[in-house]
């Protein structure tokens, strides 16, 4: 019996709307171009976590070429649940046709909720209880107007369908590590619209400490070094952090480039590293090893090592790649942005 879980299908979804960071800066007197990304993806007025998840899930199912009735688990990692109480997973499972014999749950762990769902799905399929398990990481992240987070808090997500490794899986997971401590760098209290953060404390003791430790532990456990990986994907709260953490760990720009999307779409929180991972799978070749390291405030990091399999080459067309989706965009101004994101109190 195989001891590895594989991915049989994946799909990402990026809303078509973009707002340039300098357009946001202009509103708050920041005219000097010191912004953390170029532009970010904004959900349309009729989009939310659920609709983004459904679109990503539909692409994943098309790639997997499976009957959605055979999906036994739908887990969504997010911090943008449209309902505080009422699962998002049931809506998604219903929309993709996976109901009623399916387990669903919404996971919350800030930006690493999506990889939490990975862990659960991997164990589900390895236990043999569930044939196909879907993990989704998606968000319609909100930053308080005028806050630094407003530049980057973005919308998007990706869905991955796990099953036991076989010649039908496009990549398999050869190892995973979760590294977690109680580190309150970023939070949102119940009933609040916008999160709070501890400014520079979100860096060294939070993002860097946890990712560096999860990735180092993974490499140690598996006897791997950065050069053994063709690609690496890190959580992307901005452009600077993932580049810096890659450098600290000994990864090169070439390794992170395919999955580094924050400059163009911003930080879609639980979807951030997963969309980057999807974009990397879009260009990876059989045999390539990919490092995926998420980061969730609060705090923790999940690190995974995936190896790409032969069938990936058959899984590409006609489904649009993440880069294709990023390329289809419409720019909106700040006033349209506040209308779309419900910031007008009518």
């Amino acid at each position: 019996m195989t001891k590895e879980a594989g991915i049989i299908g994946y799909g990402a979804y990026i809303p078509i709307y973009r707002i340039k960071a300098c357009e946001i800066g202009k509103i708050w007197g920041n005219y000097n171009g010191h912004v953390p990304i170029m532009e970010k993806a904004v959900a349309g007025i009729d989009e939310d976590l659920v609709t983004i998840s459904v679109e990503a899930a539909k692409y994943a199912i098309r790639r997997a070429k499976i009957d959605p009735k055979e999906i036994g688990a739908v887990y969504i990692g997010t911090e943008s649940k449209p309902y505080a109480v009422k699962p998002s997973g049931t809506i998604v499972a219903e929309a993709i046709g996976a109901t009623p014999l399916v387990v669903t749950a919404d996971f919350e762990f800030a930006c690493k909720a999506g990889t939490e769902a990975f862990q659960a799905c991997i164990d589900h399929v390895l236990s043999g209880r569930i044939k196909y398990a879907m993990a989704i990481g998606a968000d319609t992240a909100q930053g308080r107007p005028g806050d630094q987070l407003e530049y980057t808090a973005a919308s998007g997500g990706a869905a991955f369908i796990f099953t036991k490794r076989s010649n039908k899986t496009l990549a398999y997971c050869e190892g995973a590590v979760s590294f977690v401590t109680d580190t309150p760098d970023f939070w949102r209290r119940a009933h609040e619209h916008y999160p709070m953060h501890a400014e520079r404390f979100t860096g060294e003791p939070a993002y860097f400490y946890h990712i560096i430790n999860s990735v180092k532990t993974l490499m140690e456990n598996m006897g791997l070094k950065p050069s053994d990986f063709k690609y690496a994907v890190f959580h992307q709260p901005n452009t600077k952090f993932p580049v810096k953490v890659a450098k600290k760990l000994g990864f090169t720009m070439d390794q992170i480039k395919p999955g580094l999307l924050s400059p163009y779409i911003g930080n879609c929180y639980a979807g951030s590293s997963l969309v980057g991972f999807a974009a990397t799978l879009d260009v990876a070749n059989p045999g390539d090893r990919i490092l995926l390291a998420s980061y969730g405030s609060g705090a923790g990091s999940d690190a995974f090592s995936f190896v790409v399999q032969d069938i990936i080459l058959e899984k590409r067309n006609p489904i649009p790649s993440v880069r294709d989706m990023i390329g289809v965009r419409k720019y909106i101004d700040y006033s349209t942005y506040v209308k779309f994101r419900g910031k007008i109190r009518a």
């Binding site: 809303p15 078509i16 709307y17 349309g44 007025i45 009729d46 989009e47 939310d48 659920v50 609709t51 459904v54 679109e55 539909k58 449209p82 309902y83 809506i91 219903e94 929309a95 046709g97 289809v328 419409k330 209308k339 009518a346």
Partner: protein, 130 residues
């Protein structure tokens, strides 16, 4: 709108479930029990096609109660590739991007919500194929 009314239509609104007359082949959205073409009561559930073309459309500027924040928005009649017609919103789209005949595909969107505390109605919309 009541929750049961929304809930019972979920299969059609989420997944485009229609019905097809076993006798004459005519398809319907939403599903019907009686074929209006041939009178047969032998109809079966069918998943309708998720792509089609615009037959006609309009842009709404004066919304009904509940749709105020979405204005302006586009509504259209779409003929699916299996021949079934459907009324839908066209989303992520400006009026100058479409014309009669434009190819569109189904997406899953929020239709509206019952205020800040009520339920959220989801369903299909269509979007131009790029």
């Amino acid at each position: 709108m009541s929750v049961p009314r929304y809930w019972r239509e979920i299969p059609s609104r989420y997944r485009l479930i229609g019905s097809k007359c076993v006798n004459c082949g005519k398809t319907y959205f939403p599903p019907r029990r009686v074929c209006r073409e041939c009178g047969s009561v032998n109809l079966e559930e069918v998943k309708l096609s998720e792509q089609g073309r615009i037959i006609t459309w309009a842009t709404v500027y004066d919304p009904p109660r509940g749709f105020e924040k979405y204005v302006p928005y586009i509504v259209a009649i779409v003929e699916l590739d299996d021949g079934t017609r459907i009324m839908t919103q066209i989303t992520d789209c400006e009026p100058d991007e479409i014309q009669i005949g434009t190819r569109v595909y189904a997406v899953f969107r929020k239709i509206r919500e019952e205020g800040e505390s009520g339920i959220i109605y989801y369903g299909y919309k269509f979007k131009p194929l790029k």
